[in-house]
């Protein structure tokens, strides 16, 4: 799967500084402090009445319950309790999604599979957001040679496709017999995060550049505020919106990327249950037992869909131009 961040990064106003616009349509000037303060409350009011936002939020809450309390949905069934005599039995009233090759209940495993996928998505997003956001703020705020070095560094990592880098990192890891969910998740998060931060950096940098010379920053500096205070109190709060939108959309992308890596046999490894590993298991039996592939793929797609819809709704609410 190609990287969903690519579209956002391509649309990011990277080109602003290297070309001169002769027309009057300069990039929009940043609003002053008071306006941008009400931007968040405006956005919240807008979101509360947005049907898409409510639907995706409900779906995400359901997935979060699956992540932390899978027992709520599985009526106490154990995902590891398998009965070989039931191998590949079709869906029935007893097992809604049928049985997989080892005779495990596909429904129970699909519910338990949410945990690994959601954890990878959330932590990969947090990791890239913090790292990429930090580098972007430093590059955008200080400009000059700091910006040049950091931007070239970003270019270097940006030129390596996400999936390719993920495969490289995961193959190079020494094989471990660990069946611990969290260490497996950490490995995949690291593999995705090492290359994923670049689009966050680019978007944060360009939005910091737009705010950097705003009147309220100049005023704060004239009052004797230190750089650290200006960044924390003025620049970051006023340039965070595009990063948050990108992060929400990326979360769905990372869940898909984890599934792709697991599908290639590199991401999470079999004792750990995830949608990707379930699809990988089901692949040879697609002609005789398509339900083995269908249900985890369906849950995976719905999870990705809800984060993308949430991101879309947040973007619409935060971008006054689209209202």
């Amino acid at each position: 799967m190609s990287d969903p961040n690519a579209s956002m990064a391509a649309a990011a106003p990277e080109t602003v500084e290297k070309e001169t616009y002769l027309g009057s349509d300069l990039p929009p000037a940043p609003g002053d402090k008071e306006k941008s303060r009400s931007l968040w409350s405006d956005a919240w009011r807008e979101l509360k009445s947005n049907k898409v936002f409510i639907i995706s939020l409900v779906l995400i809450v359901v997935f979060l319950i699956m992540t932390f309390f899978p027992q709520v949905f599985t009526f106490g069934k154990d995902p590891m309790a398998c009965d070989l005599t039931k191998s590949r039995q079709a869906p029935s009233s007893e097992a809604w999604f049928g049985y997989d090759n080892n005779g495990c209940d596909v429904y129970t495993r699909t519910i338990y599979g949410a945990k690994a996928s959601i954890l990878v998505g959330v932590f990969a997003t947090l990791f890239t957001m913090l790292l990429g956001g930090f580098i972007g703020v430093i590059a955008g705020f200080f400009g000059g040679w700091v910006d040049s070095i950091l931007s070239r560094l970003t270019d270097i990592f940006f030129a390596i496709p996400l999936l390719l880098g993920g495969i490289l990192v995961l193959t190079s890891f020494p094989a471990s017999d660990s069946t611990n969910l969290y260490s497996e998740v950490a490995k995949v998060v690291l593999a995705l995060g090492i290359l994923g931060w670049t689009s966050m950096t680019r978007i944060m940098r360009s939005s910091v550049i737009q705010v950097r010379n705003a009147d309220f920053v100049v005023a704060a500096r004239a009052l004797g505020a230190k750089n650290s205070r200006i960044i924390n109190k003025h620049v970051v709060p006023n340039s965070l919106a595009p990063l948050i939108v990108l992060a929400t959309i990326s979360l769905g992308g990372y869940i898909g990327a984890e599934a792709t890596l697991s599908f290639l046999g590199l991401g999470l490894q079999p004792p750990v249950i995830s949608w990707g590993t379930m699809i990988n298991d089901a692949q040879p039996y697609i002609r005789v037992a398509p339900f083995m592939l269908f249900f985890p793929a369906f849950f995976l797609s719905i999870a990705v869909l809800s984060f993308i819809m949430l991101g879309d709704a947040v973007r619409e609410a935060l971008d006054p131009k689209l209202r």
Binding site: T15, T20, P161
Partner: protein, 308 residues
Amino acid sequence: MGRYTIRRLLQMIPVLIGTTFIIYAMVWALPGDPFSGKCGQRPCPPAYVAEMTAKFNLNDPLPVQYFKYLVNLLQGNFGESFSGRPVWDEIMQAFPVTFRLALIAIIFEIVIGISAGILAALNRGGFWDNLVLISTLIVISIPVFVIGFLAQFTFGIKLGWFPPTVGPNATVYELLLPALVLASLSLAYVARLMRGNLTENLRADYVRTATSKGLSRQRVIGRHAVRNSLIPVVTFIGADFGALLGGAIVTEGIFNIRGIGGLLYLSIRTREGATVVGVVTVLVLVFLLVNLIVDILYGAIDPRIRYE
């Protein structure tokens, strides 16, 4: 314009060196025995290990190793794989297939993506708009490997419209289905991007001016609104062509295409370090060149843009 191009070409050098160094370090310096599984079930004989260690300079510190590799690369020597096959030959054998696949995928993106976007923007809020929005959202949320399996199962096996796998010659007809799968995600982005831009441009002042001048609707949309909306779309498609060449790992795997993606995946799994670094170098170079061409093309589409 000439100075701009030269400056961009010079800027490419550090990026290319940095990227290949990172890949080189990931391939050769990360923990793991480069000889594991190279000699079947038994450990490799010491003579073989000694010869290969010398051949790939494995005893040198990493920067020295990389420098020696870079010197060879500048002389057009991509090195040899463990089996002694020149890496350049391997790349040249796989590249034409992937290039054809990516080209067909780009044509799908341009034709279907842009027309769907225009159709949606012109019927904003109508049936076609909703159809495009919902279908692109579905395509974006289903991972490519699932789309690939579904397409192979439905059109290749059940309906038999297309061959389910691609033979060694990889004809255009055989590549149609894989190219559509490969293009699907970007196609959806192109359609949405085009729809968004065109919607915004249709409300712009210059469109109102053109209409009030008495120009036909066709001319207002075709010459003014669509042309202005194409700029971000061209950027996206350009960046995507580079990504498609390298990102075809999954699609090439499902449809058994012997292209760059398959070569790369196999080389990573069998730890053929020289092949991995060579393929990635070529891919990154293509990616950077395509981006440069797109930036230069800007000037042709949008006369407001001038190069310093």
